[in-house]
Symmetry: C2
Subunit: 371 residues, 2 copies
Amino acid sequence: MTAQPTDPAIYVDRLSRIRVAMEEQQIDTLLLSVGHDLPYLSGYPAMPLERLTMLVVPRDGDATMVIPALEAPRVTEQAGVFGLLPWGETEDPTAIVAKLSAGSKRIAVGDQMWARFLVELLPHMRGVEFTRAVDVVGPLRMAKDHAEIAALTAAGAAVDKIAGELQRGEIELIGRTEAQVSAELSRRILLEGHEKVNFAIVAAGENAASPHHHAGSRVIEPNEIVLCDFGGTMAGYCSDTTRCVFTGEVTPDVAEAYAVLHEAQRAGVTAGTVGTTCEDVDRATRKVIDDAGFGDYFIHRTGHGIGMEEHEDPYIVEGNTLPLEAGHAFSVEPGIYVPGKWGMRLEDIVVATPDGPLILNSSDRSLVSVA
Amino acid sequence: MTAQPTDPAIYVDRLSRIRVAMEEQQIDTLLLSVGHDLPYLSGYPAMPLERLTMLVVPRDGDATMVIPALEAPRVTEQAGVFGLLPWGETEDPTAIVAKLSAGSKRIAVGDQMWARFLVELLPHMRGVEFTRAVDVVGPLRMAKDHAEIAALTAAGAAVDKIAGELQRGEIELIGRTEAQVSAELSRRILLEGHEKVNFAIVAAGENAASPHHHAGSRVIEPNEIVLCDFGGTMAGYCSDTTRCVFTGEVTPDVAEAYAVLHEAQRAGVTAGTVGTTCEDVDRATRKVIDDAGFGDYFIHRTGHGIGMEEHEDPYIVEGNTLPLEAGHAFSVEPGIYVPGKWGMRLEDIVVATPDGPLILNSSDRSLVSVA
């Protein structure tokens, strides 16, 4: 389902850079299972099931992919990247992983590995210090190469097309439930070439004041705001955009706030240059909203990194002093949420480049009236 | 998306039974995040994202759902079930959970919680013994009540309809790729009322010899076997069925093996009575296949439990001495896989009941020719 690079040289290179980071951080073994670090380093995404798949990467020596025997045919051993170690239905894969990691003092594990497997490993590994694999793999994954930026660009163009359809009134809103519109967005996400829908938030009127609203049975009425935040995975990389439309003539209070939001979002995008810290990008959007008196209604961070994963490093949040580097891809998505009344958010994906911020979304950023 | 019961009494009851199990197993605190134990006990499925949602259940005292502030509006506090504790964007949710669990000596964590959160909890919890929540929640989840069996039955009927379409030749096979047929099965899974596709394995000819084959660019030819194993989640409960069809007149070698497979599957279903151990159900299918000389080609366990999760306890595998109880729902899916030639599997979902095995699938179990 993903368009992972098929050239093993890419994985050999990534693994060698990972090992430098392991050396620097004194990580003896890296354990990757379900999640995105595994396909990033091996080209193979584990099945998210109860049978353990685990790539065991020692700091020195060859990596081994421990894999259920019946899934072994899904993956080809890659010289210089990993060898395959299939396990049978009555074997204990945790014991196999523990043996491969024997003697390790510090072990980094993938974020989305099932906790179950760590719980099962703990008794085999008394005294071992566990850390997050994101510390070693994250910096590499954050800095997207040209192929990755191309994949993010293509995914962004696909959702922009849907945003345009929404803004031209080609997706019926009034009289339909949020859930129906969400289902239609999901269908279009797949039709435009994504292999997977990650989310399709549709929130009308006062529901839009809940940033992660679950699209429900609420019927969309005339003369209200409809917030649509949607994205999927296309060729292994994610899209994510938010646009709001208004089912009628925009009311003055909403128009006033939206102008502030639009300016805040632009300020965040403009701040997304190489060398700027993540928290300074957050502050750039927040300052505009604060200055306009809406500060109490901007209740979340400005954005998140994006790549193989919908949300990944770098997070654009107060306290994150990481300076942006070329290739860092992230969302800029400030919002204003007035409980019981309405909410609004405007989101683009941005890549920091030596030439300044590259914006991957291009649909109309204004609050389009679809009445 | 799920049809979780809305009556809090169900959750109050389930939690009180969980606390009995916690008492028996000397578990001080239960921690549930992403996964199926959480909605089973609270009605709310956490968003599988980097912001932590965690239900903290002390053995005595009230349960607390630690939840990102911007997701708090998705869930309603339930008296007697849990209170809500929203955390803000710059707070550390791990520290909050650690504080709520302070003094615990044994903590059970949900299987699918992200390992990241356990890694972050470990330094707060020196000396704590971690166990799997499945030990306390699993036995309860295994024994399905009437509403759950009804949900599994409805989901089963939905995939049976698709199996019938496949067997009547209404899903074109010859000349299409496995991936195209997989996409069509996926569309039909959604059309029949599932909210989510869990998998749609399509494996033709020699590819069918790989039980977890990833549907790919292989074009389906005349005169070969096509294995289809598909399922989704409908109103929160899963479907799962496997049927093979033959794109031509079935060849004698395949017909002979299929007769064995069919008999083995029937033997497994018949064995699925209350009191029989899981490994004895496994042995029942295996004996038929062994006796016919195909033993080396049956390379996986006989089945898995099914419910809110596609694969859950009880696993029908050698070594599992758990006796089936009324309400246990599981797959019976033996297979015969001859590398390089062909593979076949036949799968139904079965519920153990006081009146004997209740089979939730009813599509034709023979190897239908679709030429």
